[in-house]
Symmetry: C2
């Protein structure tokens, strides 16, 4: 662990220019607005290490799958989040020398991500090879108010010379995804036009016909006065630019304001794109940078009001949690039920496909508590819309009768990934889709969701499990063979406890919901029954599986066994591993990892987290104390579950240790892979660690429950919670819990096992 | 199963022109000489379905590996058998119309592979789009006497016209491997020259710098008289040709004789290549087609003398076994210890790398009995030479102290394959390398091999196993976790019985050989001990593993268990599978195959075959009767082992059924994949089925043992055996076994458990 950036409550600050960590910084300092996102690449040319990345939500490419040896049932393509037109580019020449920080002496470099107000700023003094010294300050943001708009204020001041500065604002659509399987470009040019002070590039994907149009306008000031320099316009394939030359004296400040709109055929008719985009870009320019920036500050202020977590007495932890909340809010805003949350958000392109079970298992609880109910609901509807594809996916694998297997990785509901050793068998994902429905209904009380959407999904998932189990004569039980559990350091195991457990839970929950929908709205139920050709005999079969499922178990230790044969492994603890082995996935060969006892992420423990109601604290404690010391946490999704369970069993120090790992995972580049992008979905886990972990927040029988504690080295912490239209601010100090109702409605809640009624706009203080 | 070709004792005959099976025929009718090989592509242009393939032994390319998700320990490259310069090409134009069978009416088409004399002949009458009818007869062979030489006699006779026939003999090095991972060409041009009546193309591989030079000479006759037509010469990238125009009348026969030499930098200095190749080609031309062809007949006659199997009363079986022996002799001749036997030989490029465990497990017994002892010895030395690489390979995977893990697939000793789900964990291959040493010494009595080479390999392999086992506290035994056994329809299983068994056998055999070498030659032993830094304490550890190895076992059935948990699978028999499911690998998704009980190829039974001395017939029978009905035989290497064991337990009908599957696997395209090439290594299995199976041949305590039976529908069968410099012809009829000693030395043998001494050049007849 290295501390790359300066601790600060509201900002991420980099104070040295170090090209060797530039790709990490580009990930960390990314900006976005749920509609698009941009890595923190430099506006000017840069020949040092960089992963240039600009991404637009929902625009993807079905790249031909790359597998070693194609086998039946493998998917045809690996959907790629598309790296698209570079819209930030402004090349700069100082007296004919290109400004390129890789070729300059760089002084006073500072990069700041202001999370409170939602912008990226960078300033430096560069001494060019010709001896000219310039000061540059660039500030940019992607508007959270105007989804399509990105703005840049790029300022250059000559410090020790006079002469000519040449600016070339440009748009460049000649982009190749870094993770293209066969180094192919995914874009074709549609049209382009460079005009004076504006221009556009429209490209479309070579498959699926996604169009995006990028339009730029700009203006230039010198010492705060608008100027109109000479302009040369230029066009080449998928590229347009203007080049303007400004004469300047020492200490003149030249500023170029670039206003860019990015639109796509997901929201507009193709024929309208150029006009719409031109209008958006020009409107931004006419409104001006300052107005747009004010909007931005207000927009973020509203977001923080509902989702901020304040930690007093631990600035690193404070920075960590705010960074995670900031990135989550930059990635998904919940207005569009065809979008989802990619594991890297808009900060990189690794993992390609957009949607993993991360959304259901980790992100939904965050959005449930920090945003309007519709945000989480849209994430559920995303899967509902893809039910037909999930049924098709199951059919391809030999299942029938409307059984649905949701994909491990997807863009449009189809399975799409290169990686088959692991993902092929991670069928537990299907359980998480069902669990998210339970979670949503439990939290919001919105049972109508089950009637309208949920039940169909639950029946189709239950049908999958009913076919996927097989009966072992040897065990006289139902078994589930050949799976990978959440612990991806195992492959093709039998009877993964978590998978077996969530499979029967899915059957139980489907039966429960069938009964409740049948009572609540028999007509609706009959409609669903007919639509799905559902037969009552299916329930009989499900009950038989529920009653006769096999769960691996170790009697000596009285623990659930991760899978058959786990105790045959050499039992070594992580603490006894020489540190040169870590991370295992970078130091050990894959076969060695597979046969070791080391666990990548919560597996049995993930089940105990989901189904904690069914287990007493002693059981959770026994399992935690066995599995946690064997867990290497090489998945970003691991520490948060451990933080929550550790909190539950009273292991507060362990909970805090786990919190630190998840909280600053990217900021401190814990797994040595932040250069690829940030671990967006696991950021929800950080929030979970505080709110479900330290705060002990649960919802049961329509009531909010809190069992908070405070880590010893914190003075206090507080978080906001929206629960059934009530916004609460919950503050925990070492001696008290203070709950402020920021809404007018009354709310009932349970704190430390005692019931309270908190009236609208009132506060209660409870001794800790 | 379809009968594509006519039954014939010595020939494979195709009598219809059917482009839809052309790629199958191209594989079946391939010719080769151990040094190079050529698929049965047409000499003239052909725009129909075809896999053009010309291969030169030992020339390969390290193609960039294509994996879905690269993991630590995966190899950097997938070595490819290289498809190289097309040397057979002769384009033909008849009155300006290209002769292309895809665009003609084809009559009287016949393609014959004459296995007795080793040539390919093809004749047809084609009616061209312009109405011209020509008769064409082409005959070609690759010399088994002159390794570098291929000859073609290509005859064209106008049947209903007079006019101009244009011939373009050419060499074309612009070849791309069909299985190139990224569709790249692997060849660069070095030089070329088209001259009158001759020319050459020299190319080199883009990596590793293998050079090959191809030189052609030719002559033309008209009605058996040499003519010298006008010639245009032509060159383009990696290509040279001559174009000659011949005026002819109806029924004139024009014959072009093409003499090609292919040489490589594996055997000559690069600077000499052109001259050497020119000389070889010109010498062939000067000696002439008839002389070369006579050499060919003699060459093959000698091969058949030592390796023929004669079956009376079953022409399909006769054709099958000769086809297999013929292809084996075309693939490997045993003079060069840096060559090995690719699974497709020279008949295709699938599976890329050249050497698999097939060589040790299936091929060595064939060559031991049908060729000089040096042939099998060279196959062993091939692995000895690669010991350092095997140690390096093990080191990459985390093993140390000189442990060696031989690769699953290799060219030069390094592991090289795309396919990692399966091959990564098939560590049992290491056992087969050791077993082959045992097999060789047992058969030949050549114990000096152990001192010179074998012991070092055995110690290094034993060291691998000693590190690869782990101790299970749960079982209080050594276990081997995370492997794939010979049955490749399982992956990452624990305690594969075969692997555990062969692992301990390797330890036992290494200890035995250590002791025997130490006694036979203590100085040599000390030398090896020092060279390998071998410590006596290693033996202690090995003995501990031998004494405490865990073997999965089912008490109820009293059988060895394929792996932990096998009995949890749904137990279905192959006979109860609806035939629409077969082959599983083309109809079921991979995950479904993995969790089914179906077995791709002998696994427990492979162990019982190798170590049959340790098990009584009742044990073998119980295991056979359990596993065979669950075996789907979708590996070409499966039926032969079953044929041998079925013979052993007296299940003669089953043995015969299995024999038929292996014998005509390619001829009848059993697994629907012969278009990719023939299954060369499994052909040795067919021979094993007859000789070790029906013939019951074994060697024990330096003595030959026979326990033959004859399938009920055969009249008789006979096979040749070389045993310690004695050549025997063993004939089995329903009432007698006739053993003819074709050599002057006496030999002791045991037939039906009775000992005999057979004097030189004598015959004994024993009642059956």
């Amino acid at each position: 662990m290295i501390q790359y950036f300066k601790y600060d409550e509201w900002n991420i600050i980099e104070e040295n220019f170090d090209p060797s960590i530039n790709k990490i910084s580009e990930s960390i300092f990314s900006i976005g607005n749920g509609y698009m996102g941009q890595r923190a690449n430099f506006e000017e040319d840069f020949s040092g290490p960089s992963l240039k990345g600009s991404y637009i939500a929902g625009i993807y490419y079905p790249d031909k799958t790359r597998v070693g040896w194609w086998k039946n049932g493998y998917p045809e393509y690996f959907a790629k989040v598309l790296n698209s037109t570079n819209w930030i580019g402004i090349s700069v020449k100082i007296n004919d020398v290109i400004l390129d920080l890789a070729k300059c002496m760089v002084k006073s470099f500072k990069r700041t991500l202001n999370m409170k107000e939602g912008y990226l700023e960078r300033s430096f003094v560069a001494c060019l090879p010709n001896g000219n010294e310039v000061k540059v300050v660039s500030k940019r943001f992607i508007s959270v108010i105007r989804g399509e708009i990105g703005c840049i204020r790029y300022s250059v001041t000559p410090l020790n010379f006079e002469g000519e500065i040449e600016f070339t604002p440009y748009l460049d659509g000649s982009i190749v995804n870094e993770d293209s399987n066969y180094d192919e470009s995914f874009w074709d040019e549609v049209s382009k036009k460079a005009e004076l002070t504006e221009g556009y590039v429209m490209v479309k994907t070579k498959k699926l016909d996604f169009y995006i149009c990028t339009y730029m306008t700009y203006e230039v000031t010198k010492n705060n006065k608008k100027i109109t320099p000479n302009i040369d316009k230029y066009e080449k394939s998928k590229y347009i630019s203007n080049t303007l030359t400004v004469d300047c004296n020492k200490n003149d400040e030249i500023v170029i304001y670039k206003y860019v709109a990015n639109t796509s055929s997901r929201y507009y008719e193709t024929s309208e794109l150029v006009n719409v985009t031109k209008e958006l870009s020009n409107k931004a320019k006419n409104d001006g940078f300052d107005k747009l920036f004010k909007e931005q500050i207000n927009g973020w202020s509203k977001k923080w009001l509902e989702s901020d977590v304040v930690i007093k007495g631990d600035i690193a932890a404070q920075q960590g949690i705010r960074f995670n909340i900031f990135q989550l809010n930059q990635t998904y805003t919940g207005e569009d039920a065809t979008l989802n949350i990619g594991p890297k958000g808009f900060t990189g392109e690794k993992y390609g496909g957009c949607t993993y079970w991360d959304t259901e298992a980790y992100c939904i609880p965050f959005y449930l508590s920090t945003a309007s109910q519709d945000v989480a609901k849209n994430l559920l509807i995303y899967r509902y819309k893809q039910l037909d594809k999930a049924i098709e996916n199951a059919k391809k694998l030999g299942f029938n009768n409307g059984a649905a297997l949701y994909p491990m990785v997807t863009m449009n509901g189809e399975e799409c990934h290169n990686e088959w050793e692991i993902t092929f068998e991670e069928i537990h994902r299907n359980g998480a889709i069902a669990y998210a429905i339970y979670n949503y209904v439990n939290y919001t009380g919105d049972k109508s969701y089950l009637e309208e959407y949920g039940l169909q999904v639950l029946i189709s998932i239950a049908r999958f499990w009913a076919q996927r189990v097989s009966f072992s004569n040897a065990k006289n039980k139902y078994v589930i063979l050949g799976v990978t559990g959440p612990n991806e350091y195992e492959n093709n195991v039998n009877n993964n406890w978590y998978t077996n457990r969530i499979a029967t839970w899915c059957l139980e929950y489907a039966i429960e919901v069938i009964e409740s929908v049948n009572i609540a709205d028999p007509t609706k139920f009959d409609y669903i029954k007919e639509k799905l050709s559902f037969k009552d005999s299916e329930i009989e079969k499900w009950n038989d599986i529920i009653d006769n499922m096999y769960y691996p178990y170790n009697e000596d230790l009285d623990i659930f066994l991760q899978q058959d044969g786990y105790m045959d492994k050499e039992q070594v603890l992580v603490k006894d591993l020489d540190s040169t082995n870590i991370p295992l996935n970078q130091n050990w060969s894959w076969d060695r990892i597979l046969r070791s006892c080391f666990i990548k992420q919560a597996d049995v423990l993930q089940g105990l987290y989901f189904f904690e109601k069914d287990y007493d604290v002693a059981t959770i404690k026994r399992n935690f104390e066995f599995y946690e010391p064997r867990t290497i946490h090489e998945s970003s999704l691991s520490p948060c579950i451990h933080a929550i369970l550790a909190s539950k069993i009273g292991a507060h120090d362990k909970a805090y240790e786990m919190y630190l790992r998840t909280s600053r995972l990217d900021l401190d580049n814990y797994n040595n892979d932040t250069d690829d992008g940030c671990h967006i979905t696991s950021m929800a886990g950080t929030w979970l660690s505080i709110v479900h972990g330290f705060g002990g927040l649960r919802v049961s029988n329509d009531k909010l429950i809190l069992n908070p504690f405070i880590p010893t080295n914190w003075n206090s912490y507080s978080f906001k919670i929206i629960f059934r239209n009530t916004l609460l601010n919950i503050s925990i100090a070492s001696d008290s819990v203070r709950i402020e109702n920021l809404t007018g409605t009354n709310i009932h809640l349970t704190v430390f096992n005692k019931d309270y009624t908190l009236h609208g706009n009132k506060t209660i203080i409870i001794a800790n």
